[in-house]
């Protein structure tokens, strides 16, 4: 390698440690690092700086409610909710019943989808407390539901254009290998994908709900999709597509 070329690559090491190199420059440096020990050592010294930037921010305490919310997502809390007797649901159960009836009416497409929706009804009733976001969307008359019809999984994409929110309700989302993650994408008319978050299948549940918040108006998008990506996510879809739904 010409010395000038090596020097140019070496100059990019601080920016690489900071995660701010453009894609092509990062790829070129990564290729070089595989064969250059001195540059790997240099990178280590700058990585110590970027690591310290993670931890150097003065501490802030989250609200006590966050701990409670986190605790409610753990398996023991989930099991307690499942064991509660039906007569304790009262108003919540009636609201859930009304919301599920709305979902049924909006998804009368085929007998197979009806059976899927009936399965969703049964399980949603059992998981009401852990899916409040999707439940609240179902209760709004402006919410539209678009079925997810795929060989591997089923579910619905709930879209509320007035409130600019989307929720994914996915059934039997396959477990992934340790180095993978699901990533949602909002799809623009020109085909460009905007990341809408990364997530894993819900622990101990047969379904997974994933709310999507968009500061951009939903009218700028024509659909939503989910792909499998390397752990940590990607800037653009690189892995297999689980589903895509136009709305």
């Amino acid at each position: 390698m010409v010395q000038d070329e090596h020097s140019l690559l070496r100059e990019n090491i601080p920016a690489y440690a900071l995660g701010t190199l453009d894609v092509q420059e990062a790829a070129a440096l990564e290729s070089h690092l595989q064969t250059c020990e001195s540059c790997r050592v240099e990178l280590g010294t700058y990585r110590a700086v970027s690591d310290s930037l993670l931890a150097s921010i003065p501490l802030r305490l989250p609200s006590p409610a966050l701990r409670n919310r986190l605790h409610s997502r753990l398996p023991s809390a989930q099991k307690q909710k499942l064991m509660r007797p039906r007569w304790n649901w009262s108003f919540g159960g009636l609201a859930m019943g009304g919301a599920l009836a709305l979902l049924l009416v909006m998804n009368l497409v085929s007998f197979q989808q009806m059976r899927q929706i009936q399965n969703q009804q049964t399980s949603l009733m059992q998981q009401i407390k852990s899916s409040q976001f999707a439940l609240s969307m179902l209760a709004y008359p402006s919410t539209e539901a678009f079925p997810i019809a795929d060989q591997q999984l089923s579910g619905s994409v709930l879209v509320d254009r007035e409130r600019n929110t989307v929720a994914l309700v996915m059934w039997h989302l396959p477990e992934l290998s340790d180095d993978q993650i699901y990533q949602a994408w909002l799809i623009q008319p020109d085909g460009h994908r905007v990341s809408a978050g990364i997530f894993l299948p819900q622990v101990g549940e047969s379904y997974t709900t994933q709310p999507i918040y968009s500061k951009q108006d939903l009218s700028e998008f024509i659909g939503v999709g989910v792909t499998v990506e390397p752990a940590g996510g990607s800037d653009q879809p690189t892995g297999p597509r689980m589903f895509a739904v136009e709305f």
């Binding site: 920016a15 453009d22 003065p58 501490l59 305490l61 701990r67 997502r73 340790d178 622990v203």
Partner: protein, 181 residues
């Protein structure tokens, strides 16, 4: 639980020990939340990102390898990525945080006389605050807003070469400070 170190607690989390998991949350949530709040700028979004980070710890605890670094840095790396994903989704304009921080936030930091990680991190915090404004800006946008050098150049209206020079200079200053301690 409080007498167990992070590695021991993670081993228990892998076996489904919820108390061990909550002990890790109690130990590290303040620092994780501080990072997500710095990136997202809103308490609700930061708490969502913090919750997502710890849920990823619950489901991926078996992936943590002690020899690759501290659990805290592993958590903070996940937290940064989670918060930046949310930031991109929200399509927010870049925020340049004010250098004023509440004094009481440092009450949890160890004595400066001991060269513990805590004291080195505090040194790094003050080193960043002491950077020239232009150097501090590029560190803020690159690391806490997840922008590439090209994006920084566009946002600040600087030539790309100027951004690259300032990134290198800022990192060299911070590295020298880190090596002093």
């Amino acid at each position: 639980m409080t007498e167990l170190n992070d590695t021991e607690l993670v081993a228990r989390v892998v076996r489904g020990d919820e108390q061990a998991f909550l002990a890790l949350y109690d130990r590290h949530s303040a620092r994780v939340y501080a990072l997500t709040l710095r990136i997202l700028g809103e308490a609700m979004l930061a708490e969502d990102a913090t919750q997502d980070t710890f849920l990823k710890l619950w489901s991926r605890a078996r992936l943590y390898l002690n020899e690759r670094g501290s659990l805290l840095l592993w958590l903070l790396t996940i937290a940064r990525r989670t918060a930046l994903d949310r930031l991109r989704l929200e399509a927010r304009r870049p925020m340049l945080s004010d250098s004023q921080e509440p004094e009481d936030a440092w009450q949890f930091i160890a004595d400066m006389e001991t060269l513990s990680d805590e004291s080195r991190w505090r040194s790094m915090y003050f080193a960043v605050q002491s950077l020239q404004p232009d150097h501090r800006k590029v560190i803020e946008l690159a690391y806490y807003q997840g922008m590439s050098q090209s994006e920084i150049a566009e946002v600040l209206g600087w030539p790309l070469g100027t951004v690259k020079t300032r990134v290198r200079a800022a990192m060299d200053i911070l590295r020298a400070k880190w090596n002093e301690d």
